[in-house]
Structures are given as C-alpha cells and as structure tokens.
C-alpha cells in the first residue's frame, strides 16, 4: 500500500511544478467561460419559459466546469503511452507492484494536482472579481459541505476511466483512437459542452445512468443548489458503483492484455 501512496505523492509533487502552464490554462479557461456564458445568456434571453436550470445556475455550472476541466479524462497519460509504445512496460510488470493499481495511483495524482492548481484561482476570480451576471454564485454552507465528498468521488470515477484508457493502449498500440473516443464521450456526457439537464427530457435517464455524469455534472448541480444537499448521498453512491464497475472491467481487460504481451529481446 505504501508503494502506491508514494507513487501518488511523487506524481502529485511533480505535477504541482507546472504552475506557469496552470496560469496560461487559466486564461484560456476564462476565455472559454466567457464565450459559453454569452451563448447561454442569448439562448435564455429568447426563451421566457422555465427551464430545468436557471441562468445563474448555468453560469455557476459553467465556471465549475472550467475550474475542474482537467478532471475529465480527455487526454492519455503520455508516460504510459510511451512505456507501452517502446515496450518498457515490462519493467513495470517486473516490479512487486500491481500494474493496474500503479496506473490508478498515477491517475489519482493526475486528476487532482493540475485541477487544484487551476481551481483555486478560478474560484476566486469567478466568485469575487467578475460582475454579478457573469459570476460564480457562492454556494450555501450545506451545498458546499455536500459538494466536497462528491468532488472526491468524481476524482475516483475519473481515475478509473483514465486507467481504463491506459489499458486500451495494449490493443491499439500506434493509435490513441479508443482513448480519443472515451475522452470525447466524457466531454459531452460529463456536462462540459452543455449541462446534462438541458438535453432533451427523454434522454435524461440514459445520460444520468452513465458514469460520466458523476464527474462534473452531478457534483456541480449539488454545488449550485440545483440539487438539494441531501441528494449528495445518491451522487456518491452513483460514483462509487461506477468506480467499482470500471475498476473491475479495467483489471479484467489488463489481465487479458498482459497474457498476450510478447517481449521482443535483443
């Protein structure tokens, strides 16, 4: 267990070094946030009928999405890609550590450090600097307290998906096709493109049954008060069930992948 924790801690510290990148990313995410808010404001202005989310809720939802953008696994871990590409993944197999857990530990660090670097300044700017119509609404104490464990649950789902993306590389060696597909599904069905609640009503049961909803959409709705704080229990259950399923599937797939590895000596 200590070995895995050491991996999380080491990766976390390494990733915290990229502060300039985080600052540059902050600018880009603010820009995207502005464009997104402008688009939703225009849609809401033309439609007086009531919607499942109010415009201020959508604005807050957008900022939460921009702040925790890197929680959504739309890129593959480059180190793992290289390891599988050049065969050095067999060194990983030779270690007295379980490969899946190593990848999961790396993913946990990867889904937290960059997010935290960007989230705090983004919250400050979106909550206190921006004018009222464009601002992230401060949550109620209860909503914030309920959001924290949901955020932790979102990290677990995201890490399980990231690990699964790593595993698929064992089949599509030269390509990242499957990870790109998983990443784009996670983007739209995680709620980054538009809030899931604004998709047609008939699609809601399907959207909320998928694992992606637990990464961004459900926690954000708790934060904005669109869902009452006690629904956090349901959100956390959703996240834990999906984490278990994804981990089990990833492990099974990895075991099959490892069985067919051929090491080319020389």
């Amino acid at each position: 267990m200590n070995g895995y924790l050491a991996i999380v801690a080491a990766r976390f510290r390494t990733l915290l070094q990229y502060r300039t990148a985080a600052l540059a990313g902050l600018f880009t995410q603010l820009f995207f946030g502005f464009v997104r808010i402008a688009i939703f404001s225009a849609f809401y202005a033309a439609s007086p009928s009531s919607q499942p989310m109010s415009l201020p809720e959508v604005v807050s939802y957008i900022w939460l999405g921009q702040a925790t953008l890197l929680l959504v696994p739309w890129r593959i871990d480059e180190d793992v890609l290289q390891q599988i590409g050049d065969g050095s993944v067999v060194y990983e197999l030779a270690r007295p550590l379980d490969l899946y857990t190593v990848w999961f530990a790396r993913s946990i660090a990867w889904r937290t450090a960059p997010v935290m670097l960007r989230m705090l300044p983004m919250f400050v700017i979106a909550m206190f600097v921006l004018p009222h119509d464009w601002a992230l609404m401060p949550p109620s104490a209860a909503a914030f307290a309920a959001w924290l464990p949901c955020f932790a649950g979102a990290v677990l789902v995201s890490a399980a998906l990231s690990s699964l993306m790593n595993v698929t590389l064992m089949w599509t060696l030269a390509g990242q096709g499957v990870p790109i597909i998983i990443g784009s599904l996670a983007t739209v069905f995680g709620g980054l493109t538009i809030p899931l609640a604004l998709f047609p009503a008939w699609s809601q049961p399907v959207l909320y049954a998928m694992p992606f909803a637990g990464m961004l959409d459900l926690p954000s709705r708790i934060f904005t008060g669109n869902l009452p704080p006690h629904d956090a229990l349901y959100v956390i259950a959703h996240q834990l069930v999906w984490t278990l399923v994804l981990v089990a599937f990833g492990r099974w797939l990895l075991a099959r992948g490892v069985r067919r590895i051929v090491v080319q000596g020389g």
Partner: protein, 261 residues
C-alpha cells in the same frame, strides 16, 4: 515559388503515406476525431431542441455558420500542426537545421507535421454543412463565397499558429494561452457573432478577424445580408492577417539565438 509548392506537396505525400501504414490505428483515430467534433454539434442541436431559436437564428442557419467555421478550422488544423510543435523543435535546437536549408522556414514547418486524421473534423463539418445547405438558396456566387471563406478562415488560423510559434522565440515554451485564440476562436465563431457583447465582436473583427472570414460570408450565403462587394471582400482579412503574422515571424527569426548544443 513553384519549387516551394512542389516541395510542400512532397512533404504532404510522404506524411500521408507514413500515416496510412498503421491502417487500423488511423481509422480508429479518424473515428475518434469524428466523434470528438460531432459531440460539439450534438450540444448545439440539444440547445436548439430545448430553446427553439437563438436570438432570431434557427438551427439550420446556425448549423451553416458552424459548418463554415469548422471546415476552415479543420483545414488549418491539418496543415498547421508543425507550427504547433515549433517550441519543441526550438528547445531541441532542431530549428537551426531548418535555417540551414535554402527553403522558407515556415514552409518547412508546415511540412514537418501534416495530420491526415483531422479529416475526421473536416468530415463532420462537411456533414453539418451538407445538412444545413438544403435550407439555403445556392447560387454560383454564394458557392464561390463559401470556398473563399474556407480558404480565408484557414489562412487566419494558420496566421494565429504562426504567431504562436513566433512567441516561442521569446518564451521558448509555447503557452496554452494561444489555444484560447485557436480552439477558443473556433468555438466562438461556431455561433452567430451578433449574440456576443460589443467589445467581444470588436475583438473578433478588428484584431482577430474571425467574424470577417466566416460569419460575414455566412450571413450573405444565408441571404441575411446582400451579397455585395463588402461581403465578398471581407474574408480577405484572413490572408492579410497571415501576411502580417509572417512579417512578425521574420522579426522573430532575426532575433533567434539557438538554445541547442
């Protein structure tokens, strides 16, 4: 000049052959990009399904604007990837090798990495356009304007990529700031520009003329504006922007002090 063009075609031919070697991986990646960009449109569609219209725009009209912007960006995304990777080359000192060759540096960079798989984005943008075009009264003039808009939008985005690469002469590390202008610009120009605040539109007209290269011609194609000289000439802001970027690039090259060993 003709020589340079022939060289560039050769670069692309080689890159194409190389990428088609891993056929299954290539097909998967194209499908991946098709889905990645397709879901963007899914979002647009869902919003129209819920709200009906956007500030007077109907879905087919918005789809045409989206398609025009996306095809132009898709072209530049395939052609200009080498510029995207410039900071890496600069750090490794590899740019010096390019300087030694008696050919344009920008041309070599463009040929350095040609991504065939952005065909995924192009397919998606084209599909949206084809669907939207059933609602448009086409004329030879508007078809010509559409082609002009593609080319000019592509020029503009390549111009941004040139500026991004140029900035690396000063910062060495290429900063993610630029993706606000490339991907962010593409995202913003997928929607009718008149929904944005005045300062935002001013930025996308005067400084980064995306409103001129894709939105203005799209309005004329949709019949929302007359197809007059202004609407026909506005997209030329794209090539002008590219020319200005290339000028700044030269300043950067003159300033270049190698980092390699």
């Amino acid at each position: 000049m003709r020589d340079a063009f022939a060289l560039y075609i050769r670069y692309i031919a080689i890159a194409t052959r190389a990428q088609l070697q891993y056929r299954a991986a290539f097909v998967l990646k194209v499908i991946g990009y098709l889905i990645a960009t397709g879901v963007e449109f899914l979002g647009l569609w869902a919003l129209f399904a819920r709200f009906g219209s956007l500030d007077g725009w109907k879905l087919p009209e918005a789809a045409l604007i989206y398609g025009v912007a996306d095809v132009g960006f898709g072209l530049s995304d395939g052609l200009g990837r080498g510029l995207d990777r410039f900071s890496g080359l600069l750090k490794a000192g590899q740019f010096d090798r390019m300087l030694l060759r008696p050919r344009s540096t920008v041309l070599q960079l463009l040929g350095f990495d040609f991504r065939l798989l952005t065909i995924g984005r192009l397919l998606q943008g084209t599909a949206v356009l084809v669907w939207a075009s059933r609602f448009v009264a086409w004329s030879p003039a508007s078809i010509a304007l559409l082609a002009e808009s593609f080319a000019c939008t592509c020029c503009l985005f390549i111009g941004i990529a040139v500026l991004q690469a140029t900035s690396a002469f000063w910062t060495i590390e290429s900063l993610e700031v630029w993706s606000a202008f490339t991907h962010g610009g593409n995202y913003a120009s997928q929607y009718p520009m008149d929904i944005y605040a005045r300062w935002f539109r001013a930025f996308f007209t005067a400084l980064l003329p995306l409103a001129l290269t894709s939105y203005t011609p799209a309005c004329a194609i949709l019949g929302r504006a007359p197809l007059d000289a202004w609407h026909a000439l506005a997209p030329l802001a794209g090539p002008l922007f590219l020319a200005a970027s290339l000028f700044i690039w030269r300043i950067g090259v003159r300033r270049h002090a190698s980092t390699g060993s």
